[in-house]
Amino acid sequence: MKLHRRWSLALVGVALLCGCSTATVKSTRHTPLVQETRALPQSQLLDVGVIALEPGVEPKSETDGQAADDTPTTIRNAEGYYLANQLRGAIETSAGWGTVRLLPSTTPVMDVYVSGRILQSDGETLEVEIEARDSAGERWFQRKYREVASKYAYQRRDATGREPFAGLFNRVANDLLEYRRDLDGAELERLRTISELRFAADFAPESFSGYLREGRGGKLEIARLPAREDPTLAHIRTMRERDYQYIDTLQQYYDNFSGRMDEPYFYWRSERYDEVMATRELQRQSLLRTVGGIAAIVAGIALGSNSDSSAGQVGAIAAVGAGAVMVQSGLQKRSEAKLHRAALEELGESLAAELKPRVVELEDRTITLTGNVNAQYEQWRQLLREIYRSERGEL
């Protein structure tokens, strides 16, 4: 009987202690960016194209055990450009590459393409899947990267403009650099040649399509090389210079877009982080208090039925009462959590309203520029074709 009472009291104690603990990530391991220290010859500097990340986040329902993800699609699309530009910045700063640019697609010819999709982005956690592939079609890697922001990431003075998930982008940039470091000079030069020949074959297929062939696994190989003094190659190089100018102009559009998005997106993520933490804490407290309250009630009833003394009866009544209060408190926490979720939705709608015209403007501009450039490229292709035919006496 004594033992039974002790168990009941212990149960009441445990139940009352429920809901007192918190779980906030105060610091995360920050990965520093590795920078290339060797001076590489120009012929071995690979150009990198970072493709806007796909907004792969699927809206989550509450049944997943987490808060529903009601982030508007506009924000997800904008994040695709913004986060890819952050990644581009990290890769560029690692100093081991040639031109590093954000691209709308893989159409522009670059030596390495980095693409991916956002798996989770809620201010607290960022998870992305990244793939790196070279111009020959070789996949360098495909990995998932996840980082949880520290609560201080949003509390630093003058924190705007600093990326709370910089460590994640540094990890991707480091992996990319590590892979490239394993390639010898000849391999780097081979990749650059393949890119040039791909560009050449796109503009003058009559002249250059035979220089590349598909090898094992569909990967491109160099079949032969054009003569250094090939006049068409000189044209191709002139055109490629202009292609770089086009890519640079696109980059400026993306930079401006990111510049305009910096502040509202930072504050949105910061507030979202707080809301997510508050929602999770309330959900946890709600669960613990409800469970703890029910346990206290059960223990109180057990204590009362097993106690003959008036003190025991009083204790049992107190335990049942405390349990009831806890259950009620748990229900209250649940409704508070709902309020936070509503605040999250409102935050999302507000940012989406701010970003939507900017996303539309960005897409309009890049599409117009790309359309104009493509029209020009088509003209160049036709002129090169005609020059080729004239030189062969076909015209």
Partner: protein, 249 residues
């Protein structure tokens, strides 16, 4: 006799057939192929319309092909020896001139886009400066990674050297400038490998620095003036990184 009577009828039928054929051929020749494949954007309609016409009329006179302003007026007569006096070389030259013109159009179009995008960037920078209280945007770039911390010219105390006494607060002394001139000349004289410049060692892989901008120059000077070998090597590393980034741009 019978034969004689049938001749006029046959002749008339043949003439009619020939006439019909000629009409059909004529209509085929005047159909511009550009109608079938219109260019995606109307930015260079004149030039892009010229090319297919030239394809259809290989012997078109070079002057006509090089005149993108009036492509519609180009006569489409594939059978006519319009370019009888034009050699292949001349024709290719004409096409290359057209290509050059097209490059200029492309450059002008990009310049327009770049002008608008730069204006927008300046507006964003001005807004940001207004919010931040007019802070120097370069400062933030330098802060990232602490790349230039402790270097002369960025507000850090100068390294202890005989010539370095005047580098406080971002000032670059004339002595340092002289050192740079010395670097270039030393390199030019073939003394780059492990050469001593103003008492400093320049690693063999460091270029002569003739194309250094202000940041690279300051990094170079700091490395050259640094006495601590470990710190000096770090400074050279920073110099290499910076030059790599520049080469990439």
């Amino acid at each position: 006799m019978r034969t004689c009577q049938r001749h006029p009828e046959q002749g008339a039928r043949q003439l009619a057939c020939c006439g019909l054929l000629a009409m059909l051929l004529a209509s085929c020749q005047t159909t511009p192929p550009q109608e079938v494949e219109p260019p995606p954007e109307p930015t260079t309609p004149a030039a892009s319309a010229t090319i297919p016409a030239a394809e259809q009329t290989p012997e078109a006179p070079p002057d006509t092909a090089a005149a993108p302003a009036a492509p519609q007026a180009t006569p489409v007569e594939p059978a006519q020896p319009a370019a009888a006096g034009t050699t292949t070389e001349e024709h290719v030259q004409t096409l290359e001139r057209e290509l050059e013109t097209s490059y200029e159009e492309h450059d002008a179009m990009l310049r327009d886009h770049q002008a608008s995008v730069r204006a927008e960037a300046a507006e964003i920078a001005a807004q940001r400066a207004g919010r931040d209280g007019g802070g120097d945007p370069d400062e933030e770039a330098f802060e990232q990674g602490g790349l230039y911390e402790g270097l002369p010219g960025f507000g850090a105390p100068p390294p202890d050297t005989e010539a370095g006494t005047g580098t406080d607060g971002g000032e670059i002394t004339t002595a340092a400038g002289d050192d740079r001139a010395g670097t270039a000349s030393t390199a030019a004289n073939g003394g780059a490998a492990g050469g001593q410049v103003g008492g400093a060692t320049v690693p063999a892989d460091i270029p002569d620095g003739r194309d250094d901008d202000i940041v690279a120059r300051q990094l170079r000077e700091a490395a050259q003036m640094e006495k601590d070998p470990e710190l000096r090597e770090k400074l050279w590393d920073e110099y290499r990184k910076y030059k790599n980034r520049q080469a990439a741009q």
